[in-house]
């Protein structure tokens, strides 16, 4: 190894100066290529950072708008509160219905209204060793509601 290194340095030492310069320029060119590659990556990173900033700004905007939505929902709910609705209904001449005023007309083959199933029915479900409902649903709210209200079997 040392003999090889000696030969290389000896050869370099004995080269004409132009050829020595060619070696130096070659090394510098290689360094320049490396520098270009890293500079290019710096450029890409900068672009990514700017995009990331925009995404974060959008995220912040989304959060702010969610806030505004909640505030508007609350405002809307206050306008539709039961107190307001009752006052409006009474102003328009409506009166609350008492049981005696309701007339139920049985129209066969219509069955009894299923008024007793509005909340999860856990009470009388036989205990089989398994939870009556899965721990967590992994379907969307709309799907869950449609299945739940239509009393379809849960997945």
């Amino acid at each position: 190894m040392s003999t090889r290194f000696y030969r290389m340095t000896q050869a370099y030492r004995e080269l004409p100066w132009r050829r020595r310069m060619r070696w130096l320029l070659g090394v510098l060119a290689a360094a320049l290529v490396v520098a270009l590659v890293f500079a290019f990556e710096v450029h890409l990173s900068a672009q990514a950072l700017m995009l990331d900033y925009r995404l974060r700004a959008l995220q912040q905007q989304t959060l702010s708008e969610e806030q505004d939505i909640v505030v508007l929902q609350t405002h809307l709910a206050a306008m539709q509160s039961i107190e307001v609705l009752l006052r409006e209904a009474e102003a328009q001449g409506y009166q609350p219905v008492s049981p005696g005023q309701e007339h139920f007309v049985p129209v066969p083959p219509n069955a009894l209204p299923k008024t007793d199933v509005k909340v999860p029915q856990a009470g009388l479900r036989p205990w089989t060793g398994e939870p009556p409902l899965p721990k967590a649903y992994t379907i969307s709210l709309i799907h869950w509601l449609s299945r739940y209200l239509l009393l379809e079997p849960t997945p």
């Binding site: 520098a35 990556e41 995220q59 912040q60 909640v70 609350t74 709910a77 039961i82 069955a111 009388l124």
Partner: protein, 607 residues
Amino acid sequence: MSTPTVPVPSDAPRPETALWRYAIAAGAVLALGLVVVARLVLLQTGAERNWLAREVREGYAESVPLPRGLIYDRDGHLLAGDRPAYEVDVRLAAVPLEALPQIARDLAAVLGLDEGALVQALVNNKNKGVAAVLVSNRVSDQQKAMLEARARAWKVAGPEGKPVPLRGALTFVRRLVRYYPEGDLAANVLGFVAVGSGDGYGGVEQYYNKLLKGGVAWVHYPYAPWHQDDEQQQPAPQPVALYLTIDRPLQRAAEEEAWRAVQHTKAESATIIVADPYSGALLAVGQYPRPNLNDYRAIQEHLKKWDALDFAVERSYEPGSVFKVVTMAAAVDAGKVTPQTVFHDVGTFQVPGRTVWNWNRGAWGDQSMIGCLQHSLNTCLAWVAVDRLGKQPFYDYLQAFGFGRPTGVDLGGELPGYYRAPGTKYWSHSDWASQAFGQAIDVTPMQMIAAASAIANGGYLVTPHVLQYEVVDDRAYPYHPDPPPQVISAQASRTMRQMLTESLKGESSAALVDGYSVAGKTGTAEIAVQGAGYITSATNASFVGWFPAEKPQYVIYVWLERPKTSIWASVVAAPVFANMVQRVAAIEHVPPDRIREQLSAAEAQQP
């Protein structure tokens, strides 16, 4: 003539000094290039992040306050939301002393504060060198606009004695605070949120505080590229929405009936619970009085007076005769009595240390178990518990029905109730006999509704609850109770339904409703006063029942505290139950029994 210069051949070796100069120059250029490359490499690999200033390394962050989770009723009506409010500070450092009275005057006028106290506070803090003082943290949009308008007119003496506008005296910080669009509707169920800490107190707000609490989301803006990935791994907390089993119209009806009951009977308070006996879902927990949740002072005054927000879980009392349904259900389930079992009432029942009397101190002769419930005979129920059921089974049933421990309802501050059991200090036979008819035992209305549900639904002790499902990130997670234990058999439950229906009919109770079969029991409990024993002039009047009697859909509990027009539950509480049945039937469109039977028959005839 000089000798011409001979050109040196190009391949001739140069002098040694020239070679060294080239070598040094080339080396310098090479080193510079390597430094540039090394710098770029270090920048990209992050190896020099520790050399940079902290703010350069981490960038900066902006906070966004997250709204507290929303609460809806079972049909999606918003019960608890958020609205903006402002924190207003006086920047004392920017205000001369002579301007403080004017500022205090305007602040007091707009915010409804005491002007004198405010001036004093501002001046004292100014003299102490305090930079800014918080004046209020619940300033509305309108109040903010009014304050800003007034602040524009504030002037102070300028350098030449001329008045110049005073700027920057007030600072406003926007935040979200809890707002209840329905005012006091279901105030006891919902609870409230403390302004400072943002934590919920009482009801759903307390029980689900961790889920609901919004907090603050931070949006980070890193300067260094290597921080991008780290920060993106932390998503903002997802808002949660709770959908309750509470039904807005039913809740309103229960609250109206509670208010009406207090007006008619001059009771101190009224509590009415409506629940689904099969699932334990609470459809309404009406109460009067209750505070308007948007009025913080009203909440404080309410708590100061009552020391409880939700009477159904935060207060316990001796229930009196409504508890007889539990004793009777236990004895029926154990096979120790049947509806036809006869008790010969001589007007008293002796246990060591106590003689039990009936409510009217009378003797009722031979009575079936239905008669015992119908006439609410203390002697009979003491006999059932002591002579027929036995000590250990009686207390086993109390334990099974969930007395003496919280029901597990998802409302904050639930009390466990209390009763002395054998083996505990001071227990006596007197306790045993008294507990059989609802004395010497403290229960919450929620425990009674759970026990009544079990008696009505076939024997299953369901957990009362208000959560129907929670929604996180558009996914619904339904309330998931543990399977309910069966505390009495389906047969015993059926027998109890029949007995309680018959006993109500037998006494022509004011709880009966035209067209609807109801089952239930009144309870008049004298109130024990420390040092004076039980006083007959003050009672707790209760009623527990359900309808339709044979296929219970709604179980209802009524508690009137210290009614004045009559001390008897049959006079004051039973009509409230009947009114409530009518209201529930109308709101929920429950057909009368006659129609139900026709529809059932038609349904049965279908192939």
